[in-house]
């Protein structure tokens, strides 16, 4: 269970990026965080990753407070951030330094096959396309078998076709060990394709606006009417989150519900 309890973040320049953000995320759930720019999505993710400390409030995983990067929490950034001096295989094995060499090699080989890059094991990162590099980054984050995987707009730099391909691929990989996924995105389609639950945030300061459960079975058909209606619900919530006349806590809008039910 990943617990976010009234997480607050004020940057040294006085900008309040997050205000009392709370959420309980059960193990194995896929949660998408969506919201307009500057709503503190990335700030929230960095706090969960332990890369930044929250100014107030608490992030905990299975009862352990997160204050620094944690062995059971992996992260995938918007850019692949591969180490250019390591081969693809060594990049994937980067987080396995503590394991004996043969175990490490085996895990890397499995991961490489799993992301479909077995033939690229010895390639340099510069020789990969954007989609391939991001797949290596996914493999690198997954081989230490984290309980929680954080994704910070992981596919936003890719073209639409590659993005859809990687989204399916990510679900595939997720099914292996079923870690909790916490995905920051600004793409409604992506949120509805992947998530069990979409958290809509509203900006300045970033706070939770709406919590939408997507109870669609997987694999999800992007063209089905049900999919469309969920998308419309998320979009409506997003619109209302940016409308200053709508008070906080009015996220569960009658209009949005009426559209779907």
């Amino acid at each position: 269970m990943l617990l976010l309890d009234r997480v607050d973040k004020t940057y040294p320049n006085g900008v309040r990026a997050l205000e009392r953000f709370s959420a309980d995320i059960p193990q194995g759930e896929i949660v998408a965080i969506i919201g307009g720019s500057g709503c503190g999505k990335s700030t929230l993710l960095r706090a969960v990753a332990g890369l930044d400390r929250a100014s107030a409030g608490l992030v905990s995983l299975d009862g352990a407070t997160i204050e620094a990067p944690h062995a059971k929490i992996g992260i995938i950034f918007q850019e692949p951030r591969l180490l250019p001096w390591l081969s693809v295989a060594d990049n994937i094995g980067f987080g396995l330094g503590d394991l004996p060499k043969d175990v490490r090699r085996e895990r890397v080989a499995t991961a490489l096959t799993r992301v479909g890059l077995a033939d690229k094991a010895k390639a340099w990162p510069r020789e990969l396309s954007g989609g391939q590099a991001q797949r290596v980054a996914i493999a690198r984050a997954l081989v230490p078998q984290p309980e929680v995987l954080l994704l910070d707009e992981p596919f936003s730099a890719l073209d639409a076709f590659t993005r859809a391909d990687l989204q399916d691929h990510l679900l595939d990989l997720w099914a292996d060990t079923r870690p909790t996924l916490l995905l920051v995105t600004h793409d409604v389609d992506e949120a509805v394709v992947l998530a069990d639950r979409v958290l809509v945030m509203r900006p300045r300061p970033g706070r939770l606006f709406d919590d939408i459960t997507i109870n669609l079975t997987r694999p999800r058909d992007r063209a089905s009417p049900l999919f469309e209606s969920f998308k419309r619900r998320v979009l409506t919530a997003l619109d209302r989150s940016l409308d200053l006349s709508v008070p906080d806590g009015a996220g569960k809008s009658a209009a949005g519900d009426a559209m779907w039910w």
Binding site: W85, G97, P125
Partner: protein, 279 residues
Amino acid sequence: MTLDTTTLNAAAQAAPAATRTQWRVLKPLLGMLLPLGIALAWELAVYRGWSNGRLVPPPSRVLATIMDLARSGELTRHVVTTLTRVGAGFGLGVVAGTMFGAICGYWDVARRLFDPTVQALRAIPSIAWVPLFILWLGIFETSKITLIAVGVFFPVYLGVMGAILSVDRKIVEVGRTFRLSGAAMIRRILLPAVLPAYVVSLRVGLGLGWMFVVAAEFMGASEGLGYLLIDGQQLGKPAQIVAAIVIFAVLGKTTDWLIELATAPFLRWQDGFRAGGAA
């Protein structure tokens, strides 16, 4: 008609292919054209008596001087002396520059403490130290090696510090998410990230080392290539001066190439403007 175009195309493709192969062989030689041309022209000018070549000796006379020096064993003695001085000064300068650069790059307090002073010292032309070094350290090897080390220190120091300061924060964050310890962070992230800039600073440092060995040998030496220069000037032997200059060029280029050769295996990953391409 169709046949004709095909034949034509084939011919058109075959011709550039042949030229391209020739071109690949000829390209490295292209750089030799200008110096060799000038040398030949000058040789011819002196041979035909258009110039007596007394102040600007023709290549054959320079070569003969080098041969003479080599035969008498003097060449080896001078070259070994100069190489030893450069080697010792370069080594000391690199060790000191790397240590200070790394400390000041890694540790903010040290940078605030040392860097302003080091930058102020760097502003002094290193040759200005010569009189002081002679007073302090005598006119023998110590003062010469110190001068060379001082010359090498600054580019290496600046290179290492600048490289550490400009390591991509995003890459460092990858190390942090994998919870690398301080030592592991240095070994697995900082060191490889800094290496390309470090090699450049070593090469710049070596170039300065060669520059300062001449200055050092001007300040009173009885052997070394710099001594050959001074000796040639005082006794009016321009061929000996040019010979020493040529040997400097060969040694400088060779040592620089050795650094490049030794570090190339560690830098194959670089995504430079010529990465993977044939030069």
